[in-house]
């Protein structure tokens, strides 16, 4: 269980557009998008479960597509719109997916929820009436230990039908 060794840090100015807001930051080049969102931008809605690209918890949207923010460097997403869970609601109005997750109890501990919401958002935007199997397929990279997935499937279906 050897910890990483210390290395000198290169920094670079990065321009990011997150949830419609543009910012420039001086960042260590090796810092992941996950870390930058959480630690430098205070967007702690994005969670992590492994930081190795294995659990889907850190999913955000880049140009509307789901990406694992623990595997992405900010420099890779310069010039593209990044969406985190904080950017889903319209003002104080929950996104239909958020609404359905709340109503149907699809978030238990809620830790996997932001990542799953974003993966689901990408799905329903490209496929407005997904079947249960299509939802399963789209969310297969997102683990949840609480729900047994049933209520999440129900909630995505419900939200899709309301949005459609």
């Amino acid at each position: 269980m050897k910890n990483e060794t210390l290395r000198p840090v290169d920094r670079q100015v990065i321009a990011l557009e997150v949830n419609g807001e543009r910012t420039e930051m001086l960042l260590p080049v090796h810092k992941t998008l996950l870390e930058v969102l959480r630690e430098d931008m205070g967007l702690t809605g994005t969670k992590h479960g492994c930081e190795l690209g294995e659990c889907g918890t850190c999913t955000v949207l880049v140009g509307g597509k789901p990406e694992l923010s623990c595997l992405v460097l900010p420099i890779q997403v310069q010039g593209q719109a990044v969406t985190t869970v904080e950017g889903m609601a319209h003002g104080s109005q929950l996104h239909p997916l958020q609404q359905a997750f709340a109503e149907l109890g699809a978030a238990q501990c809620g830790y996997c929820t932001p990542g799953i919401l974003l993966a689901a958002k990408s799905l329903v935007e490209t496929n407005p009436a997904p079947t249960r199997d299509e939802i399963r397929e789209a969310l297969a990279g997102n683990l949840c230990r609480c729900t047994g997935y049933s209520k999440i499937l129900d909630a995505v279906s419900l939200a899709a039908s309301r949005m459609g």
């Binding site: 994005t46 969670k47 492994c50 830790y111």
Partner: protein, 783 residues
């Protein structure tokens, strides 16, 4: 009832779906230092020296501590205070903490850990139950317990076991193995501490703020009034955050030394080593049955691979023998249990704590007996079901019991009895039970197990309780109960929970106790508050209190707010309190504290699957589950608990394994440690059965653990139905199925499983007279 029984959204749903719930690792106060822990690379070694001087010289390192800074031992059970936050004498598993660093960022902390030089005298590790039973080559892992690396031995006998076997028509013996697995919460453990004015504050992803509070007080040698523990939003526990952990103590100590906030979030690899998960258990069971299938006697032996420390292990050991009698009426019962120490991460409680393993064995064993006798397994089990309002041979009090109804529901819906019989397709059935909270506390005391306070003023209602919502929805249950009694909606009730400074004590989210115990405390507190509001309102209205109706936000002729003004004018500050102490129902014998619960939940399950003869692959088509929850205070949350339990049971049955090679975890990552994904999870049909328990709040019992238990045995019974082979050990991997098929084709026993149970030096059993079976007589006879 206005809100109890309604499928309302959770009170924290919006916070969770917007990313605004604050989990421990989300906190980053100014000047926070990051902590990393140096852990043992050896499964078993004496520490000869620790040199931290190079680490201390690294710029950005503010503190380095070792075991000498935190020498006091702790542990969740008073009888096994065998852990140190940092070990400076001996390490007992890969991952045992040795030193900790606080630095200005995580990378510096990690580099400082690398710079710590530790000299070890490496000892022969003990890696299996068999090895632990033998004399150790070097030295024992712990200096208590024994002989050899045995931690705990128990032997109990209830009723006339020899006589029961003598009267049996058939006697059968079987051996089973339940592999260990881990909780794998999505949230890595995390804790952050601050220190100001001689007071420590800790936010942690724990299930049990009170027990962490106690452990901190002991190890930091501070009075409890100088320590505040707050449960942060919780990213999943399943029993894995029920021990006080080293990192929780370490960040407090580092905050005390540096005067700055200190945070430690375990890496995913560290979470696998922190563990405290399901014990691997080897089991042997011998049962005698009469011609009609009625059990005449049972003898059950277990051997638990405990890992390196005690944790909850003594309780886990008793649990492997406790609940067999709570589903089946066993007239004579002997239980012998043994837990051993091995050089692996300590095992502890995981969903079902110590009972899924024997449940697996028991259900399959009875199924085999039924087939020996040519009886339908469902029928044989039904003939032996316990009846409501009875006491089991080991003195457990059964009140409400919906076993029969649960079975009816899953039988009807699944069509089990008329299933299509063809090779490769099978259905399996099993039942189970679980506690609605342990009847005794972790440490013996006469105080309530849960306490709730309510404050009412012009600003509304606030309820205070130490209970920790770990995602199961305990906050929502509290709000619902208070709202029901005061005629409000759950959203009208403000909650303060899991904060040792501001909330009265609840023992925590374990053993499925919160709805039952905090729920009962909330009912009492809310009814007292309601009585004050009603009395003041009745006086104003000039009527009897009994004529005042409460509901829809009104108390009699007044709005709730007006009523609270009347009551405050009459009584002064409006506060009320309620508490819950479980009845003293433990039997008159040593060890009787593990097993009693004020009420038991019941489940029945049918699994439908296809099993491929060529590949050994099992694919589950559908699961039907019926759960006797007493009363569903919120059916949406109950379904969520049931579905989550089924999912976790299926993961254990098919793929999850916490196993080791040379002391190292074989797959300490989320990719390699297989758990069910969206694609692995079949449709689950859930039936809520309501038996309205006499003692539960509104009749409610537990929902969050029991429904896990029947899934692994039902799955193995379905595999037998499909392929005619018994897989007597989980997980049911394709290799095991193929091996069983190979043995079958060679005319060997068509089975994969442990060949034998090892000889274990159990002491002579403590003989216990069974209680009168009828509950009324039993309570009179009880102590």
């Amino acid at each position: 009832m206005k809100v109890v029984g309604k499928p309302l959204p959770k009170v924290d749903a919006s916070a969770k779906v917007t990313g605004r719930a604050i989990y421990a690792d989300d906190m980053l106060p100014p000047r926070t230092l990051h902590c990393r822990i140096l852990r043992s690379p050896h499964p078993h070694a004496r520490i000869l020296s620790i040199d931290t001087s190079a680490a201390r010289r690294i710029p950005g390192v503010l503190a380095v501590i070792t075991g000498a800074d935190l020498p006091v031992k702790f542990g969740i059970l008073p009888v096994t205070q065998d852990e140190r936050a940092l070990e400076h004498e001996k390490v007992r598993y890969v991952g045992d903490p040795i030193a900790a660093v606080a630095a200005t960022d995580e990378e510096i902390a990690a580099a400082a850990c690398d710079a710590i030089a530790v000299e070890y005298d490496v000892l022969e590790p003990v890696m299996s139950i068999d090895a632990a039973l033998r004399e150790p080559k070097d030295e024992r892992i712990q200096d208590y317990g024994g002989p050899n690396n045995i931690h705990k031995l128990v032997a109990l006998e209830f009723g006339d076991v020899e006589g029961g076997f003598a009267h049996a028509e058939t006697i059968r013996e079987d051996v089973f193995f339940y592999q260990g697995n881990t909780h794998l919460p999505m949230e890595q453990h995390s804790a952050i501490a601050t220190y100001l004015d001689g007071k420590v504050t800790l936010w942690s992803s724990t299930q049990v703020v009170h027990y962490v509070h106690r452990a901190l007080s002991k190890v930091l040698e501070l009075p409890m009034n100088r320590i505040r523990v707050i449960g942060a939003a919780h990213g999943g526990g399943f029993g894995g955050k029920t021990d006080p952990f080293a990192h929780e103590i370490i960040v407090c100590k580092l905050a005390m030394l540096t005067g700055r906030p200190v945070k430690c979030t375990l890496t995913r690899e560290e979470v696998f080593y922190a563990h405290r998960g399901r014990h691997p258990v080897l089991m042997w069971v011998r049962t005698g049955v009469a011609k009609d299938g009625r059990i005449t006697a049972m003898h059950f032996r277990t051997a638990l691979d405990g890992g390196a420390y005690g944790s909850y292990g003594v309780a886990s050991t008793f649990y492997t023998g406790a609940l067999q009698t709570v589903t089946y009426d066993i007239p004579a019962y002997r239980f012998e249990g043994c837990r051993v120490f091995t050089n692996k991460p300590p095992c502890g409680p995981k969903r079902g704590h110590g009972t899924p393993q024997p449940r697996f064995a028991l259900e399959l064993h009875l199924e085999k007996i039924a087939r020996d006798l040519g009886l339908d397994p469902v029928e044989l089990k039904r003939r032996n079901f316990v009846q409501p309002n009875t006491r089991t041979v080991n003195w457990l009090r059964v009140t409400s019991c919906g076993l029969d109804e649960c079975v009816d529901r899953v039988m009807q819906a699944s069509g089990y009895a008329t299933r299509e019989k063809r090779i490769g397709h099978g259905m399996g059935f099993a039942v189970s039970t679980y506690l609605s909270g342990a009847g005794t506390a972790i440490y013996w005391n006469d105080m309530p197990h849960s306490e709730v306070q309510i404050k009412v003023d012009r600003g509304g209602v606030t309820a205070y309780c130490g209970a920790m919502d770990i995602g199961q929805g305990s906050d929502s249950v509290l709000a619902t109960i208070v709202a029901e009694e005061l005629g409000l909606q759950p959203a009208d009730v403000r909650l303060v929970t899991a904060d040792t400074d501001t909330t009265p004590i609840d023992l925590g989210s374990y053993s499925s106790r919160v709805t039952f115990m905090a729920g009962n405390a909330a009912v009492e507190a809310a009814r007292k508050m309601r009585a004050m509001l009603v009395e003041a309102t009745a006086a104003k209205m000039g009527c009897e209190a009994s004529a005042v109706e409460v509901g829809d936000g009104r108390i009699g002729d007044f709005s709730f707010e007006e009523a609270s003004v009347l009551a405050e004018a009459r009584f002064g500050t409006l506060t009320s309190a309620g508490s819950y102490t479980p009845p003293r129902i433990a039997g008159p014998y040593k060890g009787s504290g593990v097993g009693p619960s004020p009420a038991y939940s019941y489940s029945a399950c049918v699994v439908d699957l296809d099993a491929d003869e060529r590949t050994g692959l099992v694919s589950v088509n559908k699961i039907w589950i019926a759960h006797d929850v007493g009363r569903a205070i919120n059916p949406l949350l109950v379904e969520g608990q049931v579905e989550g339990s089924v999912y976790m049971g299926l993961g254990e049955a098919l793929m999850e394994e916490q196993t080791f090679r040379k002391g190292l975890h074989k797959w300490p990552s989320m990719l390699e440690y297989k758990s069910p994904t969206f694609l692995d999870m079949p449709e689950v049909q859930t039936f809520i059965v309501e038996t309205v328990d006499p003692e539960g709040p509104y009749g409610a019992k537990e929902a969050g653990q029991g429904p896990l238990l029947p899934v692994p045995p039902a799955l193995c019974s379905a595999v037998y139905d499909a392929l005619g082979v018994w897989i007597d050990e989980i997980p049911v991997t394709p290799e095991k199925v193929l091996e069983a098929l190979r043995r079958k084709s060679k005319g060997e026993p068509a089975r994969y499983g442990p060949p034998m149970f090892p000889p274990i030096p159990y002491p002579p059993p403590i003989k216990v007279e069974p209680p009168p079976k009828d509950l009324d007589h039993a309570s009179a006879a009880a102590i």
